[in-house]
Amino acid sequence: MHATDIQTLRTLIAKHKRYDILFGIIGLLATLVGVITLLALFIDLVMGGYGRLTPEFFTNFPSRRAEEAGILSAWVGTILVMLVTVAAAVPMGIAGAVYLEEYAPKNWVTDLIEINVTNLAGVPSIVYGLLALGLFVYILDFGQSILSAGLTLALLILPVIIVATRESLRAIPVAIREAAYALGATRWQMVSDHLIPYSMGGILTGVIIGMARAIGETAPIITIGALTFIAFLPPLPGTIDPARNMPAGPFDWLFSPFTVLPIQMFNWVSRPQAAFLENAAATGIVIIVATLAMNALAIWLRYRIRKNIKW
């Protein structure tokens, strides 16, 4: 190779390396688009609604006067709906995952189930709302109630819980299963005494992630008819139900109309008056803080589990 050849080669290589550096910068910027958006979103919300975050905001009902409106019915509604969601989704999700991991034979029925679980994860959430409207609200006559909403969200987050549970179960080595069998345990005893307790951490993580998602879901709940102006609380057991002037039974709250935080926010952001937009921003802050806290909890849990398990 001649000296001149080497020189041209070196200039060429230098030019190509500049592309390397350029792309390194572009790539980093592209990755930061998400971070910047999150920051902008957060700052926008805080600037828009921070002033509204008073204790009264949390203890007032919605009102036609924006300054006096609050999210009491909304956050109580959210908690009650979450109770139903978790009560329905967690047992079904764990049971389904256990079946698929420990019991299911390799046949077309199992394949069908697995295809459906994957498919359901990709169904738009509003379609769940349509299902709930037709099935829960009318055919089963649960009405436009907390029960319908909780069951709808349960179906929505079922794939999340199933996948998280299956992964936790898979992480347990076969040797532990074999040890249980060798001592004469039945399959169910092996599962309930060993597998489920050991995978509790992973399951819990999945449940928290699912709940974080469910808290922010709006579309399916609107579709089943959650009303946006609820100025009362569902009749909790131990209180007097104002609608009937009788003590509330233990399950009356399930069939009560209700609202949830994201719907309250949606209602307020749909009004042109600036004061209501402030309320919307404040509600947004509450929802995001709740969601972030749950996600952070799940990540922390996952980290702790990884450290503690010594297979």
């Binding site: 790539g27 980093l28 990755t31 738009p124 509003i126 709006t218 994201p262 949606f266």
Partner: protein, 315 residues
């Protein structure tokens, strides 16, 4: 000594039978538990069936009153008017335009992010950045709607002074940013699946990192990138709240993203918020719209998953 000789043969038989029936009881219990677990798992199939059944049932009611031809060709969607029009085209155009804007944002950025994380970024950068990307997916969509309406649109109006307050550009961009992590993670998976030997072959020829990424890694993972694109379409099509808040809710048959419009999903929300007499045409119309939505997302989901399996098996 032994009670045994004095025990009658009958008692001995009873003990054996007792043990046998215990075993049988255990078996019955195990089978019952297995059946319960199976039913829980089968609920996934039941849910899908229920969704399809409900949509078909109510939509068929709808199509008794509205011809399919009108449904597919009319450019007006005004079910609540005095003289109702039932053409799905305005809702379709709204959905497609918003999705188009979203993908125009998500795919280039998502692919660049994927190449960067897969081929360029040092390990520490990757570990720090990925959680933030995942966080993008955790923000509730109604909050994104607020952001699109009250931050992004005003920002756009600085550059486009004639942009109406409700438009498809703002929510489209926000949806795009929202699904960047989805597009980038599927693409990145495909790129990481490309074997090192192919990269080494390129480096051995004196190529730089960028040349290797563009000339070898990207083409080798193209089916994965395509899968990401298609799955991204599915996500954007199904998005509801961002458009419901920020695009206005007036069906508008247009391909211009700076105009307000309603998507299929926004329409369903709008109608469901009002008072719907059960069994009315308006009530049934949301199921017909839902059916179109499910068909669209189903096709894209299946295509996307088939492509994903292809790139997983190729290596």
């Amino acid at each position: 000594m032994d009670n045994f000789p004095t025990l009658s043969a009958g008692v001995v038989m009873n003990t054996q039978a007792h043990r046998l029936s215990e075993k049988k009881l255990r078996k019955v219990k195990e089978k019952a538990i297995e059946t319960l677990l199976f039913l829980a798992a089968f609920s996934a199939v039941a849910t899908t069936t229920a969704i399809v059944a409900i949509l078909l049932y109510e939509a068929s009611g709808f199509f008794e009153h509205v011809s399919i031809v009108e449904f597919l060709t009319n450019t007006q969607w005004t079910p609540m008017f005095e003289n109702p029009q039932y053409g799905i085209l305005p809702l379709l155009s709204g959905t497609l335009v918003t999705t188009g804007v979203a993908l125009a944002v998500a795919v280039p950025i998502g692919v660049i992010v994927a190449i960067y994380l897969s081929e360029f970024a040092p390990h520490k950068v990757r570990e720090t950045v990925k959680p933030f990307l995942e966080l993008l997916e955790g923000v509730p969509t109604v909050v994104y709607g607020y952001f699109a309406l009250l931050f992004v649109t005003p920002l756009l109006q600085i550059f486009m002074p004639n942009l109406p307050g409700f438009n498809m550009l703002g929510p489209g961009i926000v949806i795009g940013i929202m699904i960047i992590p989805y597009v980038s993670s599927v693409s990145e998976d495909a790129m990481r699946a490309v074997p090192m030997s192919l990269r080494e072959g390129s480096y051995a020829m004196g190529a730089t990192r960028f040349q290797t990424a563009v000339n070898v890694v990207f083409p080798a993972s193209i089916s994965g990138v395509l899968a990401a694109f298609i799955l991204g379409i599915s996500r954007a099509v199904g998005e509801t709240m961002v458009v419901a808040v920020a695009a206005g809710q007036q069906p508008n048959f247009t391909w211009n993203p700076s105009e307000p419009a309603a998507t299929i999903t926004a329409y369903i929300v709008q109608v469901a918020m009002g008072d719907l007499p059960h069994g009315s045409i308006a009530y049934q119309s949301i199921f017909a719209a839902g059916l179109v939505l499910v068909l669209m997302t189903l096709v894209f989901n299946i295509l996307g998953h088939m492509l994903r399996r292809r790139f997983r098996e190729a290596y």
